[in-house]
């Protein structure tokens, strides 16, 4: 599986539909403080099934929906889509035969929420199942977010042990 692009709409500061394509194996993301770089990372974790608002730097899950600026009104829905190239057939189970796999998550302010795989509604569980054995997931080491280095440095022996248990 190879990540092709990430599509964000109404997610945090990415109110307008935005496609972040991954055209090479060494992609740098740059820009001033507060412009939205880490928000892209939050979006990827969110669509992969992150269920803790705190981990996404919010108080409630609805905090991921664009909540307005000095000139724009808040919007009612956040949507993030991840599209993978699966031409090597590595995706698990029923998805092995698809050439592309699209994973999408949507959340509305009224609390309505859905997950979709290749445009078909599914449960969060189906999303996390896709990632089993791929090394991916909202809490895997495939995403090393701002602050993770400090947490590792300050980890007590018991905490480090737990990380190893979880990786087993």
């Amino acid at each position: 599986m190879r990540l092709l692009h990430v599509k964000l709409s109404g997610f945090k500061s990415f109110v307008d539909p935005t496609v972040v394509s991954v055209p090479s194996d060494l992609v740098g993301i740059v820009g001033p403080n507060g412009c939205g770089k880490s928000n892209v990372i939050d979006a990827i974790r969110w669509v992969m099934g992150e269920s803790s608002a705190k981990t996404l730097r919010g108080d409630h899950m609805a905090d991921v929906i664009f909540n307005g600026s000095t000139v724009r009104k808040p919007v009612g829905k956040a949507s993030v889509e991840l599209v993978f190239d699966n031409s090597n057939g590595e995706a698990p189970g029923a998805y092995a035969k698809y050439g592309e796999i699209s994973i999408r998550r949507e959340l509305s302010r009224d609390g309505q929420s859905q997950y979709l795989i290749n445009k078909i509604r599914c449960r969060r569980r189906d999303i996390t199942d896709i990632f089993l054995g791929t090394g991916l997931g909202p809490r895997s080491y495939s995403i090393i977010e701002q602050g993770m280095v400090s947490r590792v440095i300050e980890a007590r022996p018991e905490e480090l042990r737990v990380l190893i248990e979880e990786a087993a």
């Binding site: 109110v15 194996d25 060494l26 993301i29 000095t70 090393i144 280095v149 590792v152 022996p157």
Partner: protein, 157 residues
């Protein structure tokens, strides 16, 4: 189970021992069990940057601590390698020589993994094949722009 923990621990330790000298340009580091019972022992990190004495991670300098943690995070990643690896500003406390070695590892990993890294560091920007710029020309609203390296050095300003 004891056996599974031990095997993951040994596996992680081996990879950590491999990454450390590549990031530090020498020296060595390893994990150590704090107790005798595999079911509840803690784990500590011991590190010896080149030319220095062995010590626990919290006695190292700010940048040495960060780089040691990065070696451990790469080792964890390697246990369950995914198609991509995303790194958000891990190079912030590093001096230029350490950033160069960090970038060298990124280039090596890119043979088998898609690397996506967020950075403010000019050296790391030069390691990218493609740069994606994020801006907030309209306050509070993020937009993408594609950038070349000179533009990127400009836009971080």
């Amino acid at each position: 189970t004891r056996a599974r923990f031990k095997s993951t621990y040994d596996n992680l330790n081996t990879r950590f021992q491999g990454f450390f000298p590549r990031l530090f340009g020498g020296g060595s580091a390893y994990l150590e069990l704090t107790g005798s019972d595999l079911l509840d022992t803690g784990v500590t990190v011991l590190a010896r940057p080149p030319g220095k004495r062995n010590s626990t991670i919290h006695l190292l300098s700010g940048g040495e601590k960060a780089l040691t943690a990065v070696a451990l995070l790469f080792a964890f990643f390697d246990l369950n390698p995914a198609p991509f690896c995303i790194l958000d500003e891990v190079d912030a406390p590093l001096d230029d020589a350490n950033v160069e070695r960090y970038c060298k590892i990124l280039r090596t990993m890119a043979d088998r993994t898609q690397l996506i890294f967020i950075t403010h560091n000019k050296i790391t920007m030069e390691a990218a094949q493609v740069l994606i710029g994020v801006t907030m020309a309209e306050p509070g609203v993020s937009r993408l722009v594609s950038v070349d390296l000179n533009e990127a050095i400009e836009m971080a300003q």
